[in-house]
């Protein structure tokens, strides 16, 4: 028996990378639409635009792989950096006035992620609430808190340490991009080579089989909720850093793009199938589409419609090529 079947390897990569030809076509279209498209600075712009989204896509992919669902990641994405900023910003720029050390603020961001993730995990996994409706309600609650906390105001004048992730660059490339790439790479390696990563696939593929094999399914699933919320909080921080402020609307409707990127990238909504590299292609595709629409002369009011149409087409394509019974 061959150790690894070459055909399988190729087939598998092929299935994960369904979108690569689409991306190539989009790139080509982009360069036709506007010569600016293929400049380094524009491509960095594209990547930066997708960075925060990408963090949440990694987060959601992890949850989807274990067969669950979290809509409230978008709430965490908004609320966590808001609370951190509120504690460190001066009163004049809508902070509480305590003007905590920015590092404490960062800690608060992570703590909010931790708390929301734990709460969601316990209630969805242990108390067995339906993930869709429960995290939907949580999302409404978190977004509501985000609005209520500061009466809709934006917190700004944030210290450098707090906005570092979104505002700084290394080697000419924004930190946010490095970080998102790192998150994708870490998730990919973890999922592929770590025993918990493999266990996550086992859980998503057949929960009861994983349980019967002695895998600690509940602990892992709750852990995944927590990690995902932390990633969403960090994504929110990146976004806040990029705009050097936290708005009351940060994160709203983000989750649509997140699910779209993950699913057209081949992450199955039924769990156990797909790879984060696929999800990455989904993010790239969405970011490219946005950029090309920006560079093109599509009337601005049609952008949402075009976006929806492109997601539909990508879904159809993914189905044809067979990545997903999407």
């Amino acid at each position: 028996m061959a150790r690894r079947d070459f055909r399988f390897v190729v087939l598998n990569w092929f299935r994960e990378l369904t979108l690569v030809p689409v991306i190539v076509v989009m790139m080509f279209a982009g360069s036709l639409v506007n010569p600016v498209f293929f400049t380094t600075s524009n491509l960095i712009n594209v990547a930066e635009g997708g960075a925060a989204l990408g963090m949440v896509v990694v987060a959601e992919s992890l949850i989807l792989l274990t067969g669950k669902f979290d809509i409230s990641l978008q709430g965490t994405f908004g609320l966590a950096p808001l609370l951190g900023a509120w504690l460190i910003a001066p009163k004049a720029s809508q902070g509480l006035g305590t003007e905590w050390n920015p590092w404490l603020g960062l800690l608060v961001v992570l703590l909010v992620g931790l708390a929301v993730g734990t709460f969601n995990g316990l209630l969805v996994i242990k108390a067995n609430f339906n993930a869709f409706i429960f995290t939907l309600a949580m999302s409404i609650l978190l977004t509501g808190l985000q609005l209520g906390w500061l009466g809709g105001q934006t917190v700004y004048n944030l210290p450098e340490a707090y906005i570092y992730l979104g505002a700084e660059s290394w080697f000419g490339v924004p930190v946010a991009i490095w970080l998102t790439i790192a998150a994708f790479a870490a998730a990919a390696l973890f999922l592929r080579y770590h025993r918990i990563g493999r266990a996550m696939y086992a859980i998503g593929g057949n929960l009861e089989a994983a349980r019967a094999a002695g895998i600690q399914v509940d602990r892992i699933r709750i852990g995944v909720f927590i990690v995902a919320s932390l990633l969403a909080a960090i994504g929110g921080l990146m976004q806040a850093g990029r705009v050097t402020a936290v708005t009351a609307g940060q994160g709203s409707n983000l989750i649509f793009g997140v699910f779209a990127a993950a699913v057209i990238g081949g992450i199955s909504l039924e769990g156990g199938r797909g790879r984060v590299v696929g999800a990455l292609t989904g993010v790239i595709l969405l970011a490219l589409v946005t950029n090309i629409l920006t560079l093109s002369d599509v009337s601005s009011t049609w952008i949402d419609a075009v976006d929806g149409a492109i997601i539909l087409i990508a879904l159809g394509l993914a189905k044809l090529i067979g990545t997903e019974r999407a």
Partner: protein
């Protein structure tokens, strides 16, 4: 083969159901090959064959759920209706499918009359009449099932009765029963047979599928045997001995099917590895009351009972899948925390679950991964990263020992044949080198040669000092056992200490007829 003119009215069609040279393949699997079979009015025609022989596939052709690739189906002497015309099929043939066709959120009454509203006017449902009629049906059957109860709350047996009641009340001339008695108790089986006899006398033709050969001799007139999708034997029940029937099913010389089951004799046993005391579990799959059980190293205890007798529940409770209501479970003399599979398996327990699809494997993952799911922490380094080398080594070893046939080690288990899937499940348990092995129906659905391999593997484990608890309703499996424990209705009722065991006595004990100690 008789044919009927399509022009001449068939006043009394000679067959209620007829398959003519039908073939059906699923991908590369030839489920049925050129099979012809007729069911006459007033007869009960048995269809037997090993797992995967194609019996249920033939049922789907007869009930219009599938279309034959080649050949024709005739009902009541006429060509079968088109697949889309479900109504026409339902009027001609009623069926109890092997798979549960109960709708859990609906009441018993509605399940009985599924898509057959007891006619008020038009498509409007007359609830009162439907309930009354369902109630009457249940009374006729002598079952005290509340017809207003949600089917979700029924036991497996009650669900089966609902399905039988549904099929029988349709009043079709052709009735198919695909393993109807698998979940039934003796009394219910008797009542079913009584009904089948009466229907038969009324001119209904019955196609009866069962793995219990004695049932076939009890109520059927003719029997057909399928093997690997081919019809290998067909004739009057009286003319075919049970041995011949088994031979036809298995395809080779009948296995040593003596009246006795040979057993292993072990002279030196190790210390007690697994000790179960006063185990009491409430479970829909069969409750357990005050069961005491111990297994020593080097011993293989066979836990035998009818479906629902609680044998599988004992196994599930031992590995921590179900929380017992009372009782203790100890391994090597120290208790295991109840209700945690993870904690139990870490204590050196290997587990082969009852239903491979439900609990056996992650279908999308490869053979190697599935084989190593129980040893993930052992093949990982101290940071938790899995060594591909170690995984491959373990997987290769198990694949070789159990003769798993796969294109490669990373072929998804979903695309293996059923038997090979089962081997992966057993391999997963053995890969952890357990000191206690709990196996439920480990050889279900595997062919004769593979069965040998699996049982050999179990036997080898036992010889190496593993304490094996083997739960099985296949007596063939018991030959690796050193001792048998019989359960009836959740209690241990008999023990057989030394083999060989008399098959007859064992069956009696399992059926709860007499207690032989």
């Amino acid at each position: 083969m008789q044919r009927f003119s399509s022009t001449g009215p068939a006043t009394s069609p000679a067959t209620v159901g007829e398959a003519e040279n039908v073939s059906k393949s699923f991908g590369e699997t030839h489920a049925l090959v050129d099979v012809s079979l007729t069911v006459q009015p007033g007869e009960c025609h048995a269809l037997v064959g090993r797992n995967g022989a194609g019996k249920s596939t033939l049922v789907t052709l007869f009930t219009g759920l599938n279309r034959p690739d080649r050949g024709a189906i005739r009902l009541a002497g006429e060509a079968a209706p088109s697949l889309a015309d479900r109504g026409a099929w339902l009027a001609r043939v009623a069926c109890v499918y092997q798979r549960s066709m109960v709708v859990p959120p609906l009441t018993v009454a509605e399940n009985v009359f599924l898509n057959r509203p007891v006619q008020g006017e038009g498509a409007v449902i007359n609830w009162r009449r439907m309930r009354a009629e369902a109630h009457e049906l249940m009374l006729e059957w002598g079952f005290d099932i509340d017809v207003d109860q949600e089917a979700a709350t029924l036991t497996v047996e009650q669900r089966q009765i609902v399905e039988i009641a549904r099929a029988l009340s349709i009043g079709a001339r052709f009735l198919i029963l695909d393993e109807p008695t698998a979940a039934l108790e003796k009394a219910a089986v008797d009542r079913l047979f009584e009904r089948v006899r009466r229907l038969r006398e009324g001119g209904v033709g019955v196609l009866y599928i069962s793995h219990h050969l004695e049932e076939i001799y009890e109520i059927c007139q003719r029997v057909s045997v399928l093997r690997d999708g081919e019809l290998v034997l067909s004739g009057r029940v009286g003319d075919i001995s049970q041995a011949k029937l088994v031979a036809a099913m298995v395809g080779s010389a009948p296995p040593r099917r003596a009246t006795e089951i040979e057993a292993v004799r072990v002279d030196s046993l190790g210390g007690t590895k697994l000790e179960v005391k006063q185990l009491t579990v409430a479970s829909r799959g069969g409750s357990v009351i005050d069961v005491d059980l111990s297994v020593r190293a080097g011993e293989c205890v066979g836990l035998v009972g009818l479906r629902g007798s609680g044998t599988a529940t004992v196994a599930d409770a031992v590995v921590g899948l179900i929380k017992p209501r009372r009782g203790s479970i100890a391994i090597d003399g120290s208790p295991v925390p109840v209700g945690s599979v993870h904690a139990t398996l870490r204590r050196g327990v290997g587990y082969v679950p009852q239903d491979r699809h439900a609990r056996g494997f992650s279908p999308q993952l490869g053979v190697d991964e599935n084989l190593t799911h129980a040893v993930l922490d052992r093949i990982a380094d101290r940071f938790g990263f899995v060594s591909a080398r170690r995984r491959t080594r373990i997987a290769q070893e198990e694949a070789q020992v159990l003769q798993i046939v796969a294109r490669s080690l990373d072929q998804p288990v979903s695309s293996l044949s059923g038997g090979n899937q089962q081997k992966v499940v057993v391999g997963r348990a053995l890969a952890s080198k357990p000191s206690v092995l709990v196996a439920v129906n480990p050889t279900v659905g595997v062919d004769v040669a593979s069965k040998e391999a699996l049982l050999d593997a179990l036997g080898r484990a036992r010889d190496e000092g593993v304490a094996v608890l083997l739960v099985s309703d296949d007596f063939e499996d018991l030959r690796v056992c050193t001792r048998l424990v019989v359960m009836v209705r959740g209690r241990v009722t008999a023990q057989f200490d030394r083999g060989p065991w008399d098959r007859q006595k064992l069956i009696s004990a399992v059926e709860g007829l007499e207690v032989a100690v």
